[in-house]
Symmetry: C2
Subunit: 261 residues, 2 copies
């Protein structure tokens, strides 16, 4: 099977024009098929502040009321997505920006929770692997915004990490998928404040041990749980590391590699 | 050749949620291949006002400085485009929303003018007919936002009427194209204030006469010039009329039909 890189970039890169532009240059030089999944970050929060729309976060997730969904759609699917696509086109990468609504790429439903109303937050039901594979086979590079839909006319705000994971799982039947979570740190760290304490490799046994010894920063646990879930669903490799070192992450010479055997 | 409908909707429909939703329901019932081109209108102006970004219009075209381009990208390519796509998906139309940057669909350059700096306004150089036709052949319905790019990383604000016309011309080699400009009036009117004075048909001779007798509202002249240019470049039929009457416009039982022979 052909290799496919699915690369998630976090908010801190997106908020920094120079870092983003340098990342996109590196990303353009990655050979072969690739999908970029971006979050949103502070741009949406800043716009909401300017428009005096109150934002509520619950466990790190934005409560998406109607006005917030408008902002999310404008900033994530509009401003960020299209600027990334235009920059990649400038590097002669034939990029196409999509939300989950486009081509019914990612079908979701409004999150149901017994106690909390998350508003227009979407949990993923299905990935349209045929549509996505068709575009990849035309040598297009897909740029995914963290917005999905319910196929009843409603857009939904959806966590970008989860989109990356679900798309990786969905496409692992067609491609040998490497899923890369790139962010501001050099990988999974033993000491969250010391970038030199990167754990090179984590497998299910060492993960249990690290957790029981409380050596892993709590914020990393959902990412690692997602990583193992992806590997158990056919994804070949998950790598976590610094966005600035994308090319070395891909080569496996830096960052944390998560494996199941 | 198979028929293709390219339908432009104006700002007044987009600004009215109920009218837009009713239009999209009608649009969904149109059989066969179709492309929807939308403008932006007052939503962008209102957002600019809220954010206290001064807007300048010159001959009805927005002067697009950097901050205005951000707004245009957020509102046109984000909010409006993705809401239309989600609604069409709700009607089981497999829609995909694109700017000119996506898949390099519409290549443009920054407008050069000896006296006026239009800012990030784009004039179209090329339509990627292969990419667009590929999507249409997969029975996808394309929703085009009035944003293009220069393939050097820059997004550009581009007039939606012009996009509709250029895409119609570009695709007329592959399809029998009907181009429909739908807006708030019932067609080209003899009396701009009386919706019952629709001119049923305009050909080059009658157009010259109407112009010389000053019977045509000045605002319609660029639309009609565009219409004749499109017909002279292979577009089969151009129809101008009320968005609410989309199905009758398509049947040719209402609105103004522009023909060259």
């Amino acid at each position: 099977m052909e290799r496919l890189f699915i690369i998630k970039i976090g908010g801190q890169i997106i908020d920094d024009e120079i870092k983003l532009s340098s990342f996109l240059k590196n990303f353009s030089s990655v050979n072969g098929k690739k999908i970029l999944v971006h979050g949103g970050g502070k741009l949406a929060t800043r716009l909401a502040e300017k428009l005096e729309i109150k934002q509520t976060l619950m466990d790190g997730r934005r409560i998406t009321d109607g006005e917030t969904l408008k902002i999310v759609t404008m900033v994530y699917a509009g401003y960020i997505n299209k600027n990334i696509v235009a920059q990649l086109q400038g590097h002669r990468v034939n990029a196409i920006g999509l939300t989950g609504a486009d081509g019914n790429a990612i079908l979701a439903h409004k999150r149901q929770h017994p106690a909390i109303d998350y508003g227009f937050a979407g949990d993923i039901d299905a990935i349209n692997t045929e549509f996505i594979s068709d575009l990849l086979e035309k040598n297009m590079t897909i740029v995914l915004a963290p917005v999905t839909h319910d196929r009843k006319g409603q857009l939904l705000n959806t966590n970008a990490d989860t989109i990356a994971q679900e798309v990786a799982k969905g496409l692992s039947g067609n491609y040998e998928v490497t899923l890369i979570y790139s962010f501001e740190k050099s990988g999974v760290l033993l000491d969250a404040d010391d970038d030199r304490t990167v754990i090179k490799e984590i497998n299910p046994d060492s993960y249990q041990q690290l957790k029981s010894e409380q050596k892993i920063f709590a914020g990393m646990i959902p990412k690692l749980d997602n990583a193992f879930a992806a590997l158990n669903s056919g994804v070949k490799k998950v790598i976590i590391g610094k966005a600035e070192s994308l090319n070395q992450l891909i080569e496996g010479t830096t960052g944390t590699t998560i494996i199941i055997h």
